[in-house]
Symmetry: C2
């Protein structure tokens, strides 16, 4: 302990992704102290990935003496006890893995290890270190390859009955709408998921030869990215703005149902598409107002996550602080 | 105390409605001990209604010596502290009424008084004395004049940020659908609310001259009720069955979004239309399966509320038991 942190103020946060593993040493008061990243090399299987996680943890615990524990945000289903990960998409060969047991085998001393769904970890990170900081309760929506989410209620993750709450991407805005990968008709992911939005943008822009996107996405408007839409929108491209408007309108509709159900009126939007900022959030704000019961329309807010992807590992570490506090 | 109940086991539960006020003496262990009803006479204004509530309370407290308190399920917005009712629909002249203060003025001794939204009170009643009894967490849906609801999470009402959670009737299943009274497009109430369903049934049956409903709803298929649809369905009427099928399908769609968001997989359906039983619940069950993420599809259940309208006053009384327990 050379730097003035007491070990009871420190935890390791891990954000386990399909391509990279981000790890951080986190101070309860100061947030991110130090961070590092490793390639996941998911194709080498779970033993290799767990080895990598263990060595990332040790790179921090070696320096600091000890930490309160390790929090891990992971894709896949997490059990109620926050010990196991089941069949994470993009991590081939994982069935049911008890992450704490696996780390204990690899570390010199056993460490409290908690695992949580990556979207939930990001929500908790936003609540304590990100754009959600000022809200006791809010819903986080992550607009990435898919559409993920988390419900933060009174500064804690709302986990539902089995720990799987927050699958906002599969909420429907049209019971006869397009079918998402989940098989759910009109799921918001079937509008805002990366591939769906890219295709929608292509069709919306095919006959708009004046759109800058025709230069950006070649050949033939394939592979339109949120970044292209944002850049074109900033340059005044009306076609790109209309696509983001279309997307924002859909987003506002699903958020309206959430407000009506939960009486939680604050939203933090993260993920790649959130980079489009007010080009997508302003139309979402307009639709949201129309989609909520008038009695619930005071205090509605949609803000962009400012902490970027760091909120994932920060929230993972914060789980450890909350866990320890609540058992004192 | 003549009948063996300790006063700490008793509370008064009130279900304040637009036409009648139901009141009960409730035992924590035995549930309903005694009940009575008075006309609301809402047009006589809040002073009269509050007088009536006070005399109903006294009719019980006079017998039993004392009770732990009074719980009231009320229409209108309830504040976070559960003390005030704001502008309840169907109760003209009410602005913001502090029900506890008003009762204290009218009773010999002040009594702990808690007020809660009527749908939430019914949900809590179902959780402890009704069809929700076996579920730690479930969502209650009330299909009446409007569509109401409550989220019961770990045997408690989930109240959201301000106490207004559970407005399931205003969740949308189609962002471009018909507009409900709330102004929300495709709100489930715009399909299943009494007037909407009645009109839908009329249009669906106009050209089906063989339907029994033509005899029941005269003249000209006006005023079709859930009861008529149920009676005709039981008699084998395919037209009536198709209407209930249509309604159940819509219900299953909105419940699917709830499961995906909350990971709460149990539903209790009450209110007039729930009397159609499996004629509406079976199609809802089928749609629900298709509307949830496959990972969340285990253990889905939709059951009919068996406690009828009594769950409202039972839940109102139970609020008092929970409140007292949690402050011990």
């Amino acid at each position: 302990m050379t730097d003035g942190h007491r070990s009871t103020d420190l935890a390791v946060g891990i954000d386990l992704g399909g391509t990279s593993i981000k790890a951080a040493l986190v101070s309860r008061q100061q947030g991110l102290i130090e961070q590092t990243t490793a390639q996941t090399e998911a194709d080498k299987g779970p033993v290799h990935v767990l080895d990598t996680i263990a060595s990332l943890v040790q790179s921090f615990t070696g320096e600091t003496g000890d930490v309160l524990g390790v929090g891990i945000g992971s894709p896949g289903a997490i059990n109620w006890e926050r010990t196991t990960v089941t069949r994470p998409p993009n991590l081939p060969g994982w069935e049911v893995v008890n992450v704490g047991d696996e780390l204990a085998k690899r570390l010199d001393a056993p460490l409290l290890t908690l695992v949580e769904n990556d979207a939930n970890a990001a929500g908790l990170g936003s609540a304590h270190y990100g754009a959600g900081h000022g809200f006791a309760s809010f819903v986080m929506v992550t607009l990435g390859t898919g559409v993920g989410g988390a419900i933060i209620h009174e500064n804690h993750i709302f986990r539902g009955s089995t720990g799987a709450a927050g699958e906002i991407g599969h909420m429907s805005i049209d019971y006869e709408g397009p079918i998402a990968r989940s098989g759910v008709a009109g799921a918001i992911e079937a509008y805002l998921g990366q591939r769906f939005l890219s295709r929608q943008a292509r069709y919306m822009l095919l006959n708009r030869r004046d759109s800058l996107i025709h230069q950006m996405a070649q050949p033939d408007l394939m592979g339109i990215t949120p970044r292209m839409l944002y850049d074109a929108a900033v340059s005044g491209d009306t076609g790109a703005r209309e696509v983001l408007d279309w997307a924002g309108h859909k987003l506002g509709c699903v958020l309206g149902s959430i407000v009506n159900l939960l009486d939680i009126r604050k939203f933090v939007v993260g993920g790649g598409l959130s980079g489009a900022g007010d080009y997508i959030l302003d139309p979402a704000r307009r639709s949201l107002q129309r989609a909520v019961l008038p009695a619930l329309s005071d205090g509605l807010e949609i803000v962009q996550e400012t902490g970027g992807n760091d909120v994932g590992m920060l929230g993972a570490a914060h789980m450890v602080f909350q866990y320890v506090d609540e058992r004192r």
